[in-house]
Symmetry: C2
Subunit: 267 residues, 2 copies
């Protein structure tokens, strides 16, 4: 098995946790108490990581919240990545996609420069836009399939594009062995159809936090037949912004425990 998915699976089993915490650390939303620090975003991340690092099977970091602060934000991205304990794999939520030669540079950025263990990518430009990522055999590559936002209704759901993506990814995965899918929690019925097309794949599932997706329904529809696993639930805002006060890290931990309990209860 691919090294990234192997690590997630080991940690998920060891901790009985399918929870991924998303460090979508929008500086406009972090508690005021952080603003006194030299690098508020980094300090905030450090507190959140310290408070949750034993509860998760992975972290996910969305690059947008760092890119919007320019070069200094990219420094913070690198430093945040380095703060995460080595036993916990980290996903770069980048949603990149470009022609082969260019995609190679994006792959280099997330894997070689910033040292992520997995990445999210956009399938619109097809196979040759994904291969530079897939060539990193130890890394995981989550392809957007059915997303949790309203815009999924514009192109993904009509003509069942999301099923074509799932089918192609299954086919491509026979060669590379490191493809997963991003599947939003809002659509249990569709998740079941996606699982049929890609029985062995890992699904990264956003949408159970602020967006209110039903964990039990997702688990029933989406878990693998073989081992009842293959799902990673990501929660970002509902955990990291649980409080605007100085107790924010403790409250983040409580929220992480809350979601972890919901996931365990639903299994």
């Amino acid at each position: 098995m691919n090294r990234f998915f192997e690590r997630v699976e080991e940690l998920a089993r060891e901790r009985d946790s399918l929870l991924c915490v998303g460090l979508d650390s929008d500086v406009a939303r972090i508690p005021r108490t952080c603003l006194l620090k030299d690098n508020p975003q980094l300090w905030f991340n450090q507190q959140i990581i310290e408070a949750t690092k034993d509860l998760v099977c992975a972290y996910k970091i969305n690059l947008a919240f760092y890119e919007s602060l320019g070069p200094r934000g990219m420094e913070t991205l690198a430093k945040t990545r380095a703060l995460i304990p080595s036993e916990v794999p980290v996903i770069a939520d980048a949603k990149r996609g470009d022609i082969g030669n260019t995609a190679r540079h994006y792959a280099r950025a997330v894997f070689d420069v910033f040292g992520f263990d997995a990445v999210t990518v956009n399938p619109y430009m097809g196979y040759d836009s994904l291969t530079p990522f897939l060539e990193y055999q130890d890394k995981g590559v989550f392809v957007l399939c059915l997303t949790s936002n309203p815009g999924a209704k514009d192109f993904q759901l009509p003509e069942e594009l999301y099923l074509s993506v799932a089918e192609k990814c299954r086919e491509w995965n026979e060669k590379s062995g490191n493809i997963g899918l991003v599947v939003g929690a809002m659509y249990p019925e569709q998740i079941s159809a996606i699982r049929q097309r890609f029985p062995e794949g890992w699904f990264l599932v956003p949408g159970i936090g602020a967006q209110g997706g039903d964990i039990r329904a997702v688990l029933q529809a989406g878990r693998r037949g073989t081992d009842k696993g293959g799902l990673i639930f990501n929660v970002s805002r509902s955990i990291i912004f649980a409080s605007q006060e100085s107790d924010f890290a403790q409250r983040a931990r409580e929220q992480a425990e809350h979601f972890l309990a919901l996931i365990r209860a639903a299994k």
Copy 2:
């Protein structure tokens, strides 16, 4: 009309140029003579810009070639942007796409932090992933429609997804007025169908350089009925990497003049 497209149109008319030069300045491919400089990528860009700045109606900078150098690369991106004369609009080739709140941060990065005049975005996640970009009314937003790479055959061409994208973009453009499309030069027949769906839009056309697309066929199929315009031809590698010797800037200018002559002759 939207300020970005107005500026492109003015410059295109004034210079009789539909040429955009793409600064895909892969450090592994820039001439050795640049490597003696403190910041080879920036110095290379400066020479290319100096040599071509009076020939173009826009520049395009692909972010991947800067992101792959980490925070320092992002500094070079900002400095490169700043080197371009104020009369020439600059497109960030970023191909971003994420849910609304996150996309807002990408929009802030390209428009507010790095000061670009337009951006390329990916439509897979639908309308709410584009609105944060569209809300910048003075900026241009090129949505990927039919791309010039082999992978276009995986999802864009089957079920005519590219036509759905063109139709939706036309509809959305009635509100925002700042949408253009990315349409690869390899498919004149499809370009004609896209033009029918989006009669008034600007098309950013890659694929006439290294990839060998037919300029005359693209012009016949894709120009607007109203003013015979609405097309921007981007050429990257064939111009900026025209020579590996110390004459690279002069050779880049010659290649830019060559493509400009081809475009003029085909009109």
